[in-house]
Amino acid sequence: MPTIIFIEPDGTEKQVGARVGQTVMEAAVQNGVKGIDADCGGSCSCATCHGYVDEAWQEKLEPADSMELDMLDFAYQRSEGSRLTCQIVVGEEMDGLMIRLPVSQA
């Protein structure tokens, strides 16, 4: 079970055991991590599961597809490591992945 580290909007660090095959968004929601709304339930339609992938990890993840990139263009305070967490599928190799969550999703 890879451990994912979420930094909640107020700075609290939450370590979460994620299941391989679920999405990073699901791992966060199912463990009560604050800072993700995920209104569309993971369909890449709402951009309210936005998170910042830690620099050390940005290159290691599969890059975002063009639909996700277009959604991210409009996400609140997009930056370098911005991803929609519902589009990242948890793999064995993601142990230690760190994701910061934005102060607001809209």
Binding site: Q30, C40, S45, S66, M67, D70
Partner: protein, 394 residues
């Protein structure tokens, strides 16, 4: 989370924790996703926020005089304020035409989707009744499982109530490409049953077909029975004001069941946007905050690998501007003369997000800008604001 210090009890008839419904007609049926993957919040969160859950309990009656509700297990719970978020129930086919056969389904709940998972299998023959979003999504899911799918729509075309002919054409072509037989302007006369199961459908054009499973996606009715019996104002939904308050000042309503004021009318929406945003307003109103529900409606639908995203409401449109988009996509922009109303964005999140921003800001791009393919979306605000176009209302 608004930091409420009152006691909160959440009563729901379904046994599962509150969950996302949209995946039920999308990936849930085909994937191995467990129900937990659909839950809005984990169980611990209700505990840590001191929300008492009474799941698998139906409210039988609402006693406004003594401010209490009675559950089907006999318990009576008092309230200071009450929010009705009873949603909607799927319309069923009448029993008189075979609607009570055991293999005739609707798709509203996790229980429905679980049953469909057992019925859906490669090679089986599915009849979908209704060419709205739920019917089309169900057809797509069934095709991806290798079922033989026929979809009938009684109106002259699919998506008649919810989208333009242009959007409907796109989705008709998509389904035809994927092997769905679509028959528009054709209704169901009746189902023939054998040992309780529907085995044959008679259509109103005189044709017949053998079937293994039927899914009816013929719309929903707002769940207003409780409110009606308690004497609250109900007109196509529980009538609320802009704060979400019903005709009884201690009772609020939100989501699919509520009819709220919007641009001089009372309307009801069936969408996640509406359920989430209106619940927020109702929660704030219940805590005494002054808020009003002024939504920017949005919706989405996933069929095969195609994504439709809608911003705004197209009701009252008299013309559309159609733009091509990457990934074989399309955007259809709805106007009432020159007033921008809504967009259907197919594989085009840029169009969707742009339109959503414009609608939230009250910005009107005008028809001409959208109808001109040489004008980029990102350039439209400047286009509209140039002196040439000063006559446009912004």
């Amino acid at each position: 989370m608004l930091g409420c210090r009152h006691e909160i009890t959440l009563i729901g008839e379904e046994p599962d924790l509150p969950y996302h419904r949209p995946p039920l007609s999308k990936k849930y049926v085909t994937s191995l996703t467990e129900a937990e993957g659909l839950y809005l919040k984990p169980k611990q969160l209700y505990e840590s926020e001191h929300i008492e859950l009474r799941l698998g309990c139906r409210i039988k009656s609402l006693n406004r005089l003594e401010k209490s509700v009675t559950l089907d297990d006999g318990a009576t719970l008092p309230y200071d304020s009450l929010a009705l978020a009873t949603g909607a129930t799927a319309r069923r086919l009448p029993a008189s035409i075979g609607g009570d056969a055991t293999n005739v389904y609707t798709l509203r709940t996790l229980a429905d989707a679980r049953a469909l998972r057992d019925e859906f299998a490669e090679g089986r023959r599915l009849l979908v009744i209704g060419g709205g979003y739920i019917g089309l999504e169900t057809a797509a899911v069934a095709r991806s499982l290798g079922m033989q799918v026929t979809l009938i729509e009684q109106a002259e075309r699919i998506l008649k109530r919810v989208a333009s002919a242009e959007t409907a054409s796109y989705f008709r072509a998509l389904h035809l490409q994927n092997g769905v037989v679509i028959r528009e302007g054709v209704g169901l006369d009746g189902l023939e049953l054998l040992a309780g199961r529907a085995v044959r459908a008679r259509l109103d054009d005189g044709s017949q077909m053998d079937i293994d499973v039927v899914v009816a996606g013929i719309g929903v009715n707002p769940a207003t029975e409780l409110a009606e019996r308690a004497g609250l104002a109900v007109v196509n939904g529980i009538v609320v004001d802009a704060c979400g308050r019903t005709s009884d000042p201690s009772i609020y309503a939100s989501g699919d069941c509520a009819s709220f004021p919007y641009r001089g009318l009372h309307i009801r929406l069936e969408s996640i946007q509406n359920a989430v945003d209106m619940a927020d307003v109702v929660a704030r109103s219940m805590l005494g905050e002054e808020t009003r529900y002024l939504p920017t409606p949005w919706f989405w639908s996933d069929q095969y690998t195609t994504k439709l995203q809608i911003a705004g409401l197209h009701h009252g449109y008299n013309r559309v501007a159609v733009r091509e988009a990457p990934r074989a996509g399309l955007s259809v922009w709805y106007f009432d003369d020159d007033r921008f109303l809504a967009v259907d964005a197919i594989n085009d999140p840029k169009a969707f997000m742009t339109a959503k921003r414009w609608l939230m800001a009250g910005f009107n791009p005008g028809f001409d800008a959208l109808a001109d393919p040489s004008v980029e979306l990102s350039a439209i605000p400047e286009f509209v604001l140039t002196p040439k176009n000063t006559t446009q209302e912004i």
